[in-house]
């Protein structure tokens, strides 16, 4: 039997990780909800953000948490022409085209990053966040860097919530996600909204990247892992559901961490894929997706 303390420690670690996972996934689900495109390059944007954050810290000594906003702005700007040039032509086309195009973007981006910055692993080993806080009484340790990533992820989630539910653009986004045509009829500028959402999704990916690289070392090729992870979370939580990706993120974070009791860390990664397959069998629409939604593009 496992020590209760050990178990609670794992649960705490899982939750800390889950918050960040949710942030990684939410950009993907936003873009899908409005544009109906699964952006396989999402993971590469996470890595791009991570590198931008890393260089800001390494070269200019900027506090990594302060790099979040500039990274988001940068990625937002980068995303706009990409959307117009690469994503618009494939909207509404065959699934194969969308997946392959975004996958092509993903590997091209990773290759560019490797050419520019080499394939070395990067990590923000910033002194103030080394070490851990110990929760008195329960005796679980919360590493500062994971705690920081967790807190900032939730802050960004909160900001996203405010954006979506308290602003005009947020209403436009939700309307377009629900029904493009109806939104257009009531006066929403659909094209501009789509552009905004894509930029936002990419910016969030970048932000999650900055936080991610304070926890784990990353190199340009780590992108694929994270887009697959994001996809598992988004599928679990329901495509297009922001709340779903929050719940899904926590669940996956928990599953990954807790299962390390029984299996190694690498096998825990495989488990996530098997979990995905399991979800597909049982409830493809996910926890918060609408079951009536078309499951295929035909």
């Amino acid at each position: 039997m496992v020590e209760i303390e050990y178990f609670t420690q794992l649960v705490a670690s899982g939750l800390l990780l889950g918050g960040l996972y949710a942030l990684i996934a939410v950009g993907l689900t936003l873009v899908y909800g409005v544009l109906h495109i699964i952006n396989l390059a999402h993971g590469s944007f996470v890595i791009l953000g991570a590198f931008v954050g890393f260089w800001g810290w390494e070269v200019f000594g900027i506090n990594p948490y302060l790099m979040i906003i500039p990274t988001m702005i940068l990625l937002f700007i980068v995303a706009l022409p990409l959307k117009r040039g690469l994503f618009d032509p494939i909207q509404g086309t065959e699934l194969l085209n969308q997946l392959l195009l975004t996958f092509g973007i993903a590997i091209a981006l990773e290759a560019l990053m490797t050419i520019a910055w080499s394939a070395n692993y990067r990590f923000i080993g910033w002194d103030p966040i080394v070490g851990a806080a110990t929760v008195p009484g329960v005796g679980i340790s919360l590493p500062y860097n994971r705690l920081g990533a967790f807190i900032f992820s939730l802050v960004l989630f909160g900001a996203l919530y405010l954006l979506l539910y308290q602003t005009k653009i947020g209403r436009a986004i939700r309307a377009t996600a629900e029904s493009k045509d109806t939104a257009s009829i009531v006066g929403v500028d659909v094209e501009r909204t789509e552009l905004m959402v894509f930029g936002l999704g990419t910016a969030l990916a970048g932000a999650s990247g900055v936080l991610l690289v304070t926890i784990v070392p990353l190199n340009p090729y780590s992108g694929i892992n994270y887009v697959l992870l994001a996809f598992v979370i988004v599928t679990l939580g329901g495509m297009g559901s922001v709340f779903g990706s929050l719940v899904g993120g926590f669940l996956i974070g928990l599953v990954q961490t807790v299962t390390t009791i029984w299996i190694s860390t690498t096998q825990a990664e495989a488990l996530v894929f098997l979990l995905l397959i399991g979800i597909f069998i049982v409830r493809p629409a996910g926890l918060f997706g609408t079951p009536s939604e078309e499951l295929s593009y035909g």
Binding site: T93, L96, G104, I281
Partner: protein
């Protein structure tokens, strides 16, 4: 009525093709195919250096990968993003058999059998899903297999397995082996194009609900196509592993999968020559950028994918070749739909 029915039937399955303005009848294309095959078979005896022979062998194996993907994605419309799994599984099966002491043909036979035996359950589970979910499901299978094999000591873990004893067939032997698989692939694809089975697969690809409504047992056909499409990567994997005398879990990775998909799409999904052209073009480019600009290799793949999807989504063969119905069908069509104005405007399309 009977006459126009058979000519329509034949027409659906045997189209005329115009290539850059030159019209080729079905018979002419068959002859061309036969001549090409004869040339390929004779190649080793025409004094080709070992280097080029090896190049051709590897290229042929990659073409077989693209061909397998073509069957499930191009003909049946199911996007199997993890199809390289069968490539790897076939390879591991062959190497394990060989290392245990079995003969070459037994090892390749094992690759074949493993391909089928793994495709059946994977197909049964995955094909319940459609579109995007099927795509990610199969990708998950491939990635999960990678992770599992990396951790499995019995198959060499992340370093994989090596073959120490020589297989003994030489460069020429491997060339003929891979050519053999290619011929098998070509014949199968040809039969898919010219059979009712293949026609039904394409019906499923074009509109699954409609096909089902018209009485096609989509579940059965999809599963059979899936298994069929797994055979070629599995066999190719067996030859590949024994040829390079090595296999490791990276064969299950995203790179291998992406290469397969790019080759097939570049050449043209749903065509017979597509995988061949796409495979050849991709492989040669890949090799040369590998020699000249190793870092850029991956970039080239990515950009090639992007360019292909944006500009020639039908692939090279799909865009270059214009298909048309033979004149008999044109007549039969207009006879049976004589008052439909839309059909009148389609008459004479070629």
């Amino acid at each position: 009525m009977g006459d126009s029915d058979t000519s329509v039937g034949r027409g659906l399955l045997q189209q005329d093709i115009a290539f850059l303005g030159v019209k080729l009848s079905h018979r002419q294309r068959l002859v061309l195919g036969g001549v090409s095959l004869a040339a390929l078979v004779a190649l080793p005896y025409l004094g080709l250096s070992t280097y080029y022979l090896a190049l051709l062998t590897t290229m042929t194996l990659f073409i077989c990968l693209a061909g397998g993907f073509n069957i499930i994605a191009g003909f049946t419309g199911q996007l199997s993003l993890g199809h390289a799994a069968f490539f790897g599984l076939g390879g591991y099966a062959a190497i394990l058999m060989w290392k245990t002491g079995y003969t070459l043909y037994a090892s390749l036979g094992a690759a074949f059998v493993i391909g089928i035996l793994t495709a059946i359950p994977i197909g049964l589970v995955m094909l319940r899903l459609r579109g995007l979910y099927f795509a990610f499901g199969t990708l998950a299978v491939s990635e999960a297999t990678l992770i599992i094999f990396s951790g499995l000591g019995a198959v060499g873990g992340s370093s994989g397995l090596n073959v120490t004893s020589s297989v003994g067939v030489g460069e020429t032997g491997f060339y003929y082996l891979s050519l053999g698989i290619l011929v098998l692939l070509a014949v199968t694809t040809y039969m898919l194009k010219h059979s009712i089975f293949g026609l039904r697969l394409r019906a499923i690809r074009d509109d699954e609900a409609k096909a089902e409504a018209q009485g096609v047992n989509t579940w059965l056909y999809k599963n059979v196509a899936f298994v069929l499409s797994a055979i070629f990567p599995a066999l190719a994997g067996g030859v590949y592993a024994l040829y390079f005398a090595h296999i490791d879990p990276t064969i299950f990775g995203a790179n291998q999968n992406i290469n397969m998909q790019l080759m097939a799409v570049l050449g043209g999904l749903g065509t017979l020559l597509g995988p061949i052209v796409g495979g050849a073009l991709f492989y040669l480019t890949f090799q040369y950028t590998g020699i000249l600009f190793p870092d850029a290799q991956l970039l080239v793949t990515g950009v090639a994918l992007i360019m292909t999807i944006l500009f020639i989504p039908k692939g090279i063969i799909g865009t270059l070749f214009k298909r048309s119905w033979p004149s008999q069908v044109n007549q039969a069509q207009t006879e049976s739909e004589n008052d439909s104005p839309t059909e009148q405007s389609h008459r004479g399309d070629s």
